[in-house]
Symmetry: C2
Amino acid sequence: MPRRLKIIVAYDGAAFAGWQSQLHRKTVQDELERAFQKIGGEGFRVHGAGRTDTGVHAFGQCAHVDLPTRKMSGERWMSALNAILPATIRVLRARYVSQNFHARFSAKGQLYRYRIWAAPILPPFEFGRAWHISSPVDVDLLKAAGEKFVGKHDFAAFAANRGKKEDSTVRTIRSIRVRNKGPLVAIEVAGDGFLYKMVRMMVGAMVRVALSKAEVDEIVSRLKSARAAGLRFVAPAEGLCLVKIWY
Amino acid sequence: MPRRLKIIVAYDGAAFAGWQSQLHRKTVQDELERAFQKIGGEGFRVHGAGRTDTGVHAFGQCAHVDLPTRKMSGERWMSALNAILPATIRVLRARYVSQNFHARFSAKGQLYRYRIWAAPILPPFEFGRAWHISSPVDVDLLKAAGEKFVGKHDFAAFAANRGKKEDSTVRTIRSIRVRNKGPLVAIEVAGDGFLYKMVRMMVGAMVRVALSKAEVDEIVSRLKSARAAGLRFVAPAEGLCLVKIWY
Protein backbone atom coordinates (compact mmCIF):
# COMPACT_ATOMS: atom_id res chain seq x y z
CA MET A 1 0.00 0.00 0.00
CA PRO A 2 1.56 3.31 -1.07
CA ARG A 3 2.50 5.69 1.71
CA ARG A 4 3.68 8.43 -0.59
CA LEU A 5 1.72 11.64 -0.11
CA LYS A 6 1.51 14.18 -2.94
CA ILE A 7 0.85 17.76 -1.86
CA ILE A 8 0.08 20.96 -3.78
CA VAL A 9 1.47 24.01 -2.02
CA ALA A 10 0.98 27.78 -2.40
CA TYR A 11 3.28 30.32 -0.79
CA ASP A 12 4.13 33.99 -0.67
CA GLY A 13 7.77 34.03 -1.73
CA ALA A 14 8.43 37.37 -0.01
CA ALA A 15 8.34 35.56 3.34
CA PHE A 16 11.01 32.95 2.53
CA ALA A 17 14.58 32.44 1.35
CA GLY A 18 13.23 30.27 -1.46
CA TRP A 19 12.08 26.66 -1.52
CA GLN A 20 15.22 24.69 -0.75
CA SER A 21 16.34 23.84 2.77
CA GLN A 22 19.11 26.11 4.11
CA LEU A 23 20.97 26.48 7.36
CA HIS A 24 19.95 29.60 9.35
CA ARG A 25 17.42 30.79 6.78
CA LYS A 26 13.66 30.32 6.61
CA THR A 27 12.74 28.26 3.56
CA VAL A 28 9.47 26.67 2.42
CA GLN A 29 10.93 23.15 2.42
CA ASP A 30 12.16 23.59 6.01
CA GLU A 31 8.79 24.91 7.18
CA LEU A 32 7.01 21.96 5.56
CA GLU A 33 9.42 19.37 6.98
CA ARG A 34 9.08 20.93 10.43
CA ALA A 35 5.27 20.76 10.16
CA PHE A 36 5.36 17.09 9.05
CA GLN A 37 7.70 16.26 11.93
CA LYS A 38 5.50 18.03 14.47
CA ILE A 39 2.61 15.82 13.42
CA GLY A 40 4.34 12.54 12.63
CA GLY A 41 7.71 12.42 14.36
CA GLU A 42 11.26 12.58 13.02
CA GLY A 43 12.80 12.10 9.62
CA PHE A 44 10.42 13.50 7.03
CA ARG A 45 11.91 14.66 3.77
CA VAL A 46 9.82 16.81 1.42
CA HIS A 47 10.76 16.50 -2.27
CA GLY A 48 9.65 19.51 -4.30
CA ALA A 49 9.11 19.69 -8.06
CA GLY A 50 10.76 23.05 -8.57
CA ARG A 51 13.33 24.86 -6.44
CA THR A 52 11.99 28.40 -6.47
CA ASP A 53 14.43 31.18 -5.54
CA THR A 54 14.13 33.74 -2.75
CA GLY A 55 11.13 35.96 -3.44
CA VAL A 56 9.57 33.69 -6.08
CA HIS A 57 5.94 32.79 -5.34
CA ALA A 58 3.91 29.63 -5.92
CA PHE A 59 0.24 28.91 -6.48
CA GLY A 60 0.77 25.27 -7.34
CA GLN A 61 4.15 23.96 -6.24
CA CYS A 62 4.06 20.18 -5.98
CA ALA A 63 5.94 17.93 -3.57
CA HIS A 64 5.91 14.38 -2.27
CA VAL A 65 6.67 12.90 1.14
CA ASP A 66 7.04 9.28 2.23
CA LEU A 67 5.08 8.62 5.42
CA PRO A 68 5.86 5.83 7.93
CA THR A 69 2.21 4.76 8.12
CA ARG A 70 -1.03 5.42 6.29
CA LYS A 71 -3.13 6.05 9.38
CA MET A 72 -4.19 9.56 8.41
CA SER A 73 -6.12 10.50 5.27
CA GLY A 74 -4.80 13.10 2.83
CA GLU A 75 -7.55 15.48 3.99
CA ARG A 76 -6.47 15.14 7.61
CA TRP A 77 -2.81 15.68 6.74
CA MET A 78 -3.80 18.83 4.87
CA SER A 79 -5.75 20.27 7.82
CA ALA A 80 -3.09 19.31 10.33
CA LEU A 81 -0.30 20.84 8.23
CA ASN A 82 -2.23 24.07 7.62
CA ALA A 83 -2.89 24.38 11.35
CA ILE A 84 0.87 24.40 11.98
CA LEU A 85 2.29 26.18 8.92
CA PRO A 86 2.60 29.98 8.77
CA ALA A 87 -0.28 31.67 6.90
CA THR A 88 2.16 32.48 4.09
CA ILE A 89 2.31 28.75 3.18
CA ARG A 90 -0.87 26.75 2.46
CA VAL A 91 -1.29 23.12 1.49
CA LEU A 92 -4.10 23.21 -1.10
CA ARG A 93 -4.42 19.47 -1.75
CA ALA A 94 -2.97 16.24 -0.35
CA ARG A 95 -3.55 12.70 -1.61
CA TYR A 96 -1.76 9.37 -1.63
CA VAL A 97 -0.02 8.38 -4.86
CA SER A 98 1.92 5.41 -6.20
CA GLN A 99 5.56 4.92 -5.11
CA ASN A 100 6.45 5.44 -8.78
CA PHE A 101 5.41 9.07 -8.56
CA HIS A 102 8.23 11.55 -7.99
CA ALA A 103 7.37 15.26 -7.65
CA ARG A 104 10.44 16.28 -9.63
CA PHE A 105 11.26 13.43 -11.98
CA SER A 106 7.67 12.58 -12.97
CA ALA A 107 6.88 16.18 -13.95
CA LYS A 108 5.99 16.57 -17.64
CA GLY A 109 5.79 20.35 -17.66
CA GLN A 110 5.50 23.55 -15.69
CA LEU A 111 3.59 26.77 -16.00
CA TYR A 112 5.09 30.02 -14.69
CA ARG A 113 3.48 33.44 -14.59
CA TYR A 114 5.52 36.64 -14.55
CA ARG A 115 3.80 39.88 -13.48
CA ILE A 116 4.96 43.36 -14.48
CA TRP A 117 3.48 46.63 -13.21
CA ALA A 118 4.22 49.24 -15.88
CA ALA A 119 3.32 52.67 -14.45
CA PRO A 120 5.15 55.50 -12.66
CA ILE A 121 3.91 54.38 -9.22
CA LEU A 122 3.78 50.83 -7.86
CA PRO A 123 0.71 50.44 -5.60
CA PRO A 124 1.60 49.22 -2.07
CA PHE A 125 -0.40 46.03 -2.70
CA GLU A 126 1.78 45.09 -5.67
CA PHE A 127 5.03 45.54 -3.75
CA GLY A 128 6.88 42.21 -3.74
CA ARG A 129 4.41 40.73 -6.21
CA ALA A 130 5.34 42.36 -9.51
CA TRP A 131 8.31 43.86 -11.33
CA HIS A 132 7.88 47.62 -11.27
CA ILE A 133 8.79 49.28 -14.57
CA SER A 134 8.16 53.04 -14.53
CA SER A 135 7.95 53.50 -18.29
CA PRO A 136 5.21 52.05 -20.54
CA VAL A 137 5.91 48.59 -21.96
CA ASP A 138 5.06 47.86 -25.62
CA VAL A 139 2.90 44.74 -25.34
CA ASP A 140 3.09 43.93 -29.08
CA LEU A 141 6.89 43.94 -28.96
CA LEU A 142 6.71 41.80 -25.82
CA LYS A 143 4.57 39.26 -27.69
CA ALA A 144 6.85 39.31 -30.74
CA ALA A 145 9.87 38.72 -28.50
CA GLY A 146 8.11 35.92 -26.61
CA GLU A 147 7.26 34.04 -29.81
CA LYS A 148 10.96 33.56 -30.55
CA PHE A 149 11.28 31.32 -27.50
CA VAL A 150 8.44 28.96 -28.44
CA GLY A 151 9.59 25.51 -29.53
CA LYS A 152 12.68 23.38 -28.84
CA HIS A 153 15.90 25.33 -28.33
CA ASP A 154 19.22 25.17 -26.54
CA PHE A 155 18.64 27.62 -23.69
CA ALA A 156 22.27 27.78 -22.51
CA ALA A 157 22.22 31.56 -23.10
CA PHE A 158 19.17 31.89 -20.87
CA ALA A 159 20.34 30.00 -17.81
CA ALA A 160 22.41 30.91 -14.80
CA ASN A 161 25.27 28.60 -13.96
CA ARG A 162 24.42 26.84 -10.74
CA GLY A 163 28.01 25.67 -10.41
CA LYS A 164 27.25 22.21 -11.82
CA LYS A 165 27.07 20.90 -15.37
CA GLU A 166 23.51 20.39 -16.57
CA ASP A 167 23.04 17.16 -18.54
CA SER A 168 21.47 19.15 -21.35
CA THR A 169 20.41 22.74 -21.79
CA VAL A 170 17.85 21.90 -24.48
CA ARG A 171 14.28 22.63 -23.41
CA THR A 172 10.91 23.01 -25.14
CA ILE A 173 8.71 26.03 -24.56
CA ARG A 174 5.13 25.05 -25.35
CA SER A 175 3.59 28.51 -25.27
CA ILE A 176 4.08 32.07 -24.13
CA ARG A 177 0.97 34.15 -23.51
CA VAL A 178 1.12 37.88 -22.86
CA ARG A 179 -1.94 39.68 -21.48
CA ASN A 180 -2.34 43.17 -20.10
CA LYS A 181 -4.98 45.05 -18.20
CA GLY A 182 -4.16 48.64 -17.36
CA PRO A 183 -0.62 48.83 -15.95
CA LEU A 184 -0.51 45.08 -15.24
CA VAL A 185 1.23 42.84 -17.78
CA ALA A 186 1.19 39.08 -17.22
CA ILE A 187 3.48 36.71 -19.13
CA GLU A 188 2.63 33.01 -18.90
CA VAL A 189 5.34 30.59 -19.91
CA ALA A 190 4.58 26.88 -20.28
CA GLY A 191 7.36 24.40 -20.94
CA ASP A 192 8.56 20.86 -20.41
CA GLY A 193 11.19 22.04 -17.96
CA PHE A 194 13.27 25.06 -17.06
CA LEU A 195 16.94 25.72 -16.35
CA TYR A 196 18.09 27.77 -13.36
CA LYS A 197 16.74 31.38 -13.60
CA MET A 198 15.57 30.61 -17.16
CA VAL A 199 12.10 32.23 -16.96
CA ARG A 200 13.53 35.38 -15.40
CA MET A 201 16.24 35.61 -18.07
CA MET A 202 13.64 35.08 -20.83
CA VAL A 203 11.43 37.82 -19.33
CA GLY A 204 14.47 40.08 -18.94
CA ALA A 205 15.27 39.69 -22.66
CA MET A 206 11.61 40.21 -23.66
CA VAL A 207 11.35 43.41 -21.62
CA ARG A 208 14.54 44.78 -23.18
CA VAL A 209 12.87 44.36 -26.56
CA ALA A 210 9.59 45.89 -25.31
CA LEU A 211 11.50 48.94 -24.01
CA SER A 212 13.32 49.23 -27.36
CA LYS A 213 16.69 48.50 -25.77
CA ALA A 214 17.22 45.45 -27.96
CA GLU A 215 15.95 44.00 -31.24
CA VAL A 216 13.80 40.87 -31.42
CA ASP A 217 16.60 39.29 -33.48
CA GLU A 218 18.91 39.50 -30.51
CA ILE A 219 16.84 36.77 -28.86
CA VAL A 220 17.18 34.58 -31.94
CA SER A 221 20.94 35.03 -32.09
CA ARG A 222 21.36 34.43 -28.35
CA LEU A 223 19.39 31.19 -28.65
CA LYS A 224 21.54 30.13 -31.61
CA SER A 225 24.80 31.00 -29.83
CA ALA A 226 23.88 28.63 -26.95
CA ARG A 227 26.55 30.29 -24.85
CA ALA A 228 26.12 31.31 -21.22
CA ALA A 229 25.45 35.05 -21.22
CA GLY A 230 25.94 36.15 -17.62
CA LEU A 231 23.32 37.58 -15.31
CA ARG A 232 22.93 41.08 -16.69
CA PHE A 233 19.28 40.93 -17.68
CA VAL A 234 17.54 38.75 -15.13
CA ALA A 235 14.03 39.96 -14.28
CA PRO A 236 13.59 40.30 -10.48
CA ALA A 237 12.31 37.34 -8.46
CA GLU A 238 9.22 39.05 -6.99
CA GLY A 239 7.38 39.06 -10.33
CA LEU A 240 7.62 35.28 -10.76
CA CYS A 241 5.09 32.67 -9.68
CA LEU A 242 5.12 28.90 -10.19
CA VAL A 243 1.51 28.30 -11.20
CA LYS A 244 1.27 24.64 -12.07
CA ILE A 245 3.16 21.37 -12.55
CA TRP A 246 1.85 18.81 -15.05
CA TYR A 247 2.31 15.05 -14.63
CA MET B 1 -0.94 82.22 -2.62
CA PRO B 2 -2.03 78.94 -1.03
CA ARG B 3 0.71 76.73 0.29
CA ARG B 4 -1.59 73.95 1.36
CA LEU B 5 -0.78 70.67 -0.38
CA LYS B 6 -3.46 68.00 -0.76
CA ILE B 7 -2.18 64.44 -1.14
CA ILE B 8 -3.87 61.13 -1.95
CA VAL B 9 -2.14 58.23 -0.23
CA ALA B 10 -2.32 54.44 -0.58
CA TYR B 11 -0.84 52.07 2.00
CA ASP B 12 -0.67 48.45 3.03
CA GLY B 13 -2.12 48.50 6.55
CA ALA B 14 -0.30 45.28 7.52
CA ALA B 15 2.95 47.23 7.69
CA PHE B 16 1.76 49.92 10.15
CA ALA B 17 0.18 50.54 13.55
CA GLY B 18 -2.56 52.52 11.83
CA TRP B 19 -2.64 56.07 10.49
CA GLN B 20 -2.28 58.20 13.57
CA SER B 21 1.07 59.25 15.02
CA GLN B 22 2.20 57.17 18.00
CA LEU B 23 5.24 57.02 20.20
CA HIS B 24 7.46 53.96 19.56
CA ARG B 25 5.22 52.54 16.83
CA LYS B 26 5.43 52.83 13.05
CA THR B 27 2.41 54.73 11.73
CA VAL B 28 1.54 56.12 8.30
CA GLN B 29 1.26 59.70 9.58
CA ASP B 30 4.71 59.49 11.18
CA GLU B 31 6.28 58.08 8.02
CA LEU B 32 4.73 60.87 5.94
CA GLU B 33 5.80 63.62 8.35
CA ARG B 34 9.32 62.20 8.44
CA ALA B 35 9.44 62.20 4.62
CA PHE B 36 8.17 65.81 4.42
CA GLN B 37 10.76 66.87 7.00
CA LYS B 38 13.59 65.13 5.16
CA ILE B 39 12.75 67.16 2.08
CA GLY B 40 11.65 70.46 3.56
CA GLY B 41 13.01 70.83 7.09
CA GLU B 42 11.33 70.73 10.48
CA GLY B 43 7.76 71.13 11.63
CA PHE B 44 5.50 69.50 9.05
CA ARG B 45 2.15 68.27 10.25
CA VAL B 46 0.10 65.92 8.06
CA HIS B 47 -3.67 66.12 8.62
CA GLY B 48 -5.45 62.97 7.46
CA ALA B 49 -9.11 62.60 6.53
CA GLY B 50 -9.66 59.28 8.30
CA ARG B 51 -7.74 57.69 11.14
CA THR B 52 -7.47 54.11 9.98
CA ASP B 53 -6.69 51.48 12.64
CA THR B 54 -3.78 49.04 12.74
CA GLY B 55 -4.07 46.65 9.80
CA VAL B 56 -6.62 48.73 7.87
CA HIS B 57 -5.55 49.51 4.29
CA ALA B 58 -6.04 52.54 2.08
CA PHE B 59 -6.23 53.09 -1.68
CA GLY B 60 -7.32 56.70 -1.40
CA GLN B 61 -6.62 58.21 2.00
CA CYS B 62 -6.52 61.98 1.76
CA ALA B 63 -4.40 64.42 3.77
CA HIS B 64 -3.24 68.02 3.68
CA VAL B 65 0.00 69.69 4.71
CA ASP B 66 0.90 73.34 5.03
CA LEU B 67 4.23 74.09 3.38
CA PRO B 68 6.55 77.01 4.26
CA THR B 69 7.09 77.92 0.59
CA ARG B 70 5.65 77.04 -2.78
CA LYS B 71 8.95 76.47 -4.50
CA MET B 72 8.22 72.87 -5.48
CA SER B 73 5.32 71.71 -7.69
CA GLY B 74 2.87 69.06 -6.50
CA GLU B 75 4.40 66.62 -9.00
CA ARG B 76 7.86 67.17 -7.58
CA TRP B 77 6.67 66.74 -4.00
CA MET B 78 5.03 63.47 -5.02
CA SER B 79 8.22 62.10 -6.61
CA ALA B 80 10.40 63.29 -3.74
CA LEU B 81 8.09 61.78 -1.11
CA ASN B 82 7.82 58.44 -2.94
CA ALA B 83 11.61 58.29 -3.21
CA ILE B 84 11.86 58.44 0.61
CA LEU B 85 8.74 56.61 1.80
CA PRO B 86 8.73 52.82 2.28
CA ALA B 87 7.22 50.93 -0.70
CA THR B 88 4.20 50.08 1.49
CA ILE B 89 3.13 53.78 1.35
CA ARG B 90 2.69 55.59 -1.97
CA VAL B 91 1.60 59.15 -2.66
CA LEU B 92 -0.67 58.82 -5.71
CA ARG B 93 -1.45 62.50 -6.27
CA ALA B 94 -0.35 65.85 -4.85
CA ARG B 95 -1.66 69.30 -5.71
CA TYR B 96 -2.01 72.73 -4.09
CA VAL B 97 -5.45 73.63 -2.75
CA SER B 98 -7.10 76.62 -1.08
CA GLN B 99 -6.41 77.32 2.61
CA ASN B 100 -10.13 76.68 3.16
CA PHE B 101 -9.66 73.03 2.29
CA HIS B 102 -9.30 70.68 5.28
CA ALA B 103 -8.72 66.96 4.64
CA ARG B 104 -10.96 65.98 7.52
CA PHE B 105 -13.52 68.76 7.98
CA SER B 106 -14.15 69.43 4.25
CA ALA B 107 -14.89 65.76 3.56
CA LYS B 108 -18.44 65.14 2.29
CA GLY B 109 -18.30 61.38 2.28
CA GLN B 110 -16.18 58.25 2.36
CA LEU B 111 -16.14 54.93 0.58
CA TYR B 112 -14.87 51.81 2.35
CA ARG B 113 -14.44 48.33 0.93
CA TYR B 114 -14.49 45.23 3.11
CA ARG B 115 -13.10 41.96 1.67
CA ILE B 116 -14.06 38.49 2.88
CA TRP B 117 -12.52 35.23 1.70
CA ALA B 118 -15.14 32.53 2.28
CA ALA B 119 -13.49 29.13 1.71
CA PRO B 120 -11.79 26.47 3.84
CA ILE B 121 -8.28 27.69 2.90
CA LEU B 122 -7.07 31.30 2.75
CA PRO B 123 -4.51 31.66 -0.09
CA PRO B 124 -1.16 33.08 1.10
CA PHE B 125 -1.69 36.14 -1.11
CA GLU B 126 -4.91 37.04 0.72
CA PHE B 127 -3.32 36.82 4.16
CA GLY B 128 -3.65 40.22 5.85
CA ARG B 129 -5.91 41.49 3.06
CA ALA B 130 -9.22 39.75 3.72
CA TRP B 131 -11.29 38.29 6.56
CA HIS B 132 -11.01 34.53 6.30
CA ILE B 133 -14.32 32.76 6.97
CA SER B 134 -14.06 28.98 6.52
CA SER B 135 -17.75 28.34 5.95
CA PRO B 136 -19.79 29.55 2.94
CA VAL B 137 -21.41 32.97 3.31
CA ASP B 138 -25.01 33.50 2.08
CA VAL B 139 -24.62 36.53 -0.19
CA ASP B 140 -28.39 37.16 -0.42
CA LEU B 141 -28.66 37.33 3.36
CA LEU B 142 -25.60 39.61 3.40
CA LYS B 143 -27.34 41.95 0.97
CA ALA B 144 -30.62 41.88 2.93
CA ALA B 145 -28.73 42.70 6.13
CA GLY B 146 -26.79 45.50 4.44
CA GLU B 147 -29.96 47.20 3.18
CA LYS B 148 -31.08 47.80 6.76
CA PHE B 149 -28.18 50.20 7.26
CA VAL B 150 -28.92 52.40 4.25
CA GLY B 151 -30.29 55.84 5.12
CA LYS B 152 -30.00 58.14 8.15
CA HIS B 153 -29.74 56.34 11.50
CA ASP B 154 -28.32 56.72 14.97
CA PHE B 155 -25.31 54.38 14.79
CA ALA B 156 -24.52 54.42 18.54
CA ALA B 157 -24.93 50.63 18.62
CA PHE B 158 -22.38 50.28 15.81
CA ALA B 159 -19.55 52.35 17.22
CA ALA B 160 -16.72 51.67 19.61
CA ASN B 161 -16.28 54.15 22.41
CA ARG B 162 -13.05 56.03 21.82
CA GLY B 163 -13.12 57.37 25.37
CA LYS B 164 -14.62 60.67 24.30
CA LYS B 165 -18.21 61.74 23.70
CA GLU B 166 -19.03 62.09 20.00
CA ASP B 167 -21.06 65.19 19.19
CA SER B 168 -23.63 63.07 17.44
CA THR B 169 -23.84 59.41 16.52
CA VAL B 170 -26.26 60.03 13.66
CA ARG B 171 -24.81 59.19 10.26
CA THR B 172 -26.15 58.61 6.75
CA ILE B 173 -25.21 55.52 4.76
CA ARG B 174 -25.66 56.29 1.07
CA SER B 175 -25.29 52.78 -0.27
CA ILE B 176 -24.06 49.28 0.49
CA ARG B 177 -23.02 47.10 -2.44
CA VAL B 178 -22.23 43.41 -2.04
CA ARG B 179 -20.47 41.55 -4.86
CA ASN B 180 -18.93 38.12 -4.97
CA LYS B 181 -16.68 36.20 -7.30
CA GLY B 182 -15.78 32.71 -6.21
CA PRO B 183 -14.74 32.75 -2.55
CA LEU B 184 -14.20 36.53 -2.55
CA VAL B 185 -16.99 38.70 -1.18
CA ALA B 186 -16.60 42.49 -1.34
CA ILE B 187 -18.83 44.86 0.62
CA GLU B 188 -18.68 48.52 -0.38
CA VAL B 189 -20.08 51.01 2.11
CA ALA B 190 -20.52 54.68 1.14
CA GLY B 191 -21.57 57.25 3.72
CA ASP B 192 -21.29 60.86 4.79
CA GLY B 193 -19.10 59.90 7.71
CA PHE B 194 -18.28 57.01 10.02
CA LEU B 195 -17.93 56.54 13.75
CA TYR B 196 -15.00 54.70 15.30
CA LYS B 197 -14.93 51.03 14.10
CA MET B 198 -18.39 51.58 12.53
CA VAL B 199 -17.77 49.81 9.19
CA ARG B 200 -16.23 46.81 10.94
CA MET B 201 -19.18 46.56 13.36
CA MET B 202 -21.65 46.84 10.46
CA VAL B 203 -19.82 44.10 8.56
CA GLY B 204 -19.65 41.98 11.73
CA ALA B 205 -23.44 42.23 12.11
CA MET B 206 -24.04 41.51 8.40
CA VAL B 207 -21.84 38.40 8.50
CA ARG B 208 -23.67 37.09 11.59
CA VAL B 209 -26.87 37.28 9.56
CA ALA B 210 -25.22 35.68 6.52
CA LEU B 211 -24.00 32.77 8.69
CA SER B 212 -27.53 32.41 10.18
CA LYS B 213 -26.31 33.34 13.65
CA ALA B 214 -28.69 36.32 13.80
CA GLU B 215 -31.86 37.55 12.12
CA VAL B 216 -31.96 40.57 9.83
CA ASP B 217 -34.36 42.20 12.31
CA GLU B 218 -31.62 42.21 14.94
CA ILE B 219 -29.88 44.92 12.93
CA VAL B 220 -33.06 46.99 12.84
CA SER B 221 -33.60 46.70 16.59
CA ARG B 222 -29.94 47.47 17.36
CA LEU B 223 -30.17 50.60 15.21
CA LYS B 224 -33.39 51.63 17.01
CA SER B 225 -31.92 50.99 20.46
CA ALA B 226 -29.07 53.43 19.73
CA ARG B 227 -27.16 51.99 22.68
CA ALA B 228 -23.48 51.13 22.66
CA ALA B 229 -23.24 47.37 22.17
CA GLY B 230 -19.66 46.47 23.06
CA LEU B 231 -17.06 45.02 20.75
CA ARG B 232 -18.22 41.44 20.41
CA PHE B 233 -18.85 41.40 16.67
CA VAL B 234 -16.24 43.63 15.11
CA ALA B 235 -14.97 42.31 11.77
CA PRO B 236 -11.14 42.11 11.72
CA ALA B 237 -9.12 45.11 10.53
CA GLU B 238 -7.27 43.35 7.70
CA GLY B 239 -10.40 43.10 5.51
CA LEU B 240 -11.01 46.85 5.53
CA CYS B 241 -9.78 49.39 2.99
CA LEU B 242 -10.45 53.14 2.80
CA VAL B 243 -11.09 53.53 -0.92
CA LYS B 244 -12.11 57.14 -1.43
CA ILE B 245 -12.92 60.46 0.24
CA TRP B 246 -15.37 62.84 -1.43
CA TYR B 247 -15.13 66.63 -1.12
